[in-house]
Symmetry: C2
């Protein structure tokens, strides 16, 4: 018999096979985009039958939905925990940046898809889930910066909703031009590339945001 392919089933109950499919899908989507990846590609790389994707997720579109939820569900939690930590405002901001970069760095594939496939088309369900994630993130950032402003450490004329674009945007632009920067900065191996992100790029972003928040004209 065929299972009822509703959202509850396809999104929450994730068995090993489903996760295997999601991992392959993420890899291929990030390499070739959503439209550029066929279900036949996915099933070939995941070594399953073509029909299994539809069987498990219902459709390619719903596979994307499941992928988004699967990959973004714990970032929110991580940020909420950061809020409760007892840190100086600047340290908190630095840690926020680290969380962002680490989180996105580990999920480069899906974030690429998120930004360039979701917003483009009218993928309603996926879009709403993504918007909620962003709203939650913004609240966390607002809260952290408000703490620093209350302590008189941060200036008060920064436009807070534009902080996240600077953090994530810088990282993303770097990553989207990976081949360019690999050549320019002589990052010959994948390890060197990841090291550069973890050290130099993260530092640059932290330095940038610190300067923006602290600098007085």
């Amino acid at each position: 018999m065929y299972p009822i392919r509703n959202n509850i089933m396809s999104n929450i109950e994730l068995n090993d096979k489903k996760i295997q499919i999601l991992e392959v899908a993420e890899k291929l989507f990030s390499e070739k985009g959503f439209e550029g990846t066929s279900i036949r590609d996915i099933s070939k790389h995941a070594k399953i039958n073509i029909a299994m994707v539809s069987y498990y997720f219902g459709s390619k579109e719903r596979l994307l939905e499941a992928l988004i939820i699967y990959k973004t569900s714990d970032l929110k939690l991580q940020l909420e925990n950061l809020l409760l930590e007892n840190l100086e405002p600047l340290d908190k901001v630095n840690k926020l940046i680290e969380i962002y970069i680490n989180r996105i760095s580990c999920n480069k594939g899906i974030f690429r898809v998120l930004h360039f496939e979701i917003n483009a088309k009218k993928r309603e369900k996926s879009f709403i889930a993504f918007t909620e994630l962003k709203k939650g993130n913004l609240k966390s950032v607002e809260s952290i910066i408000a703490q620093g402003q209350a302590k008189g450490v941060f200036r008060k004329d920064v436009i807070i909703p534009l902080i996240t674009p600077t953090i994530i945007g810088t990282f993303f632009h770097f990553h989207m031009n990976k081949p360019f920067f690999e050549e320019l900065l002589n990052l010959k191996t994948e390890a060197m590339y990841n090291d550069y992100i973890k050290n130099s790029l993260t530092k640059h972003i932290q330095q940038t945001i610190k300067a923006l928040l602290v600098y007085e004209n």
Copy 2:
């Protein structure tokens, strides 16, 4: 007879019809991605026969190449002119940011495609052209910042290749999340959205880069 469909013809000789096709292609590529846009889509919107795209450009891939060259050729010139201007280093940086934002803002569509289609696949020809553009841009930025450092206005420990990611990345991340920020910042019309970019967002980026270049620990 059929014209020789070589690069010289398809890239340089741009008649009205070709430009019309390129404009439509940019619009659709930016909305639905390269893979997500069919030649039938393009020909329908451009009100031409399907075969005309192949006739003029040779293939869909070569259409993309032509589009990139068509849309990026004058940015390089604009930056080289900026170098020659007699301005204070900080004013020069601010103007650089304005040029970047204005230039990309007017060509949002193609830059979206550039970042997410080019780097993903092995579109060699397009990729090389794009890499050359970025190298030239970096040289301009290096030169401007070196001027400021020589005058003792800018600090000397900034990683210059990461300046551009911060400028363009911030703008891009904002634009990629257009629907999100439209709702968040209450930008009800297209004019209000563009105004926000021209004023608030540009100011934010200028303020950020200034702080980064000038701020002393």
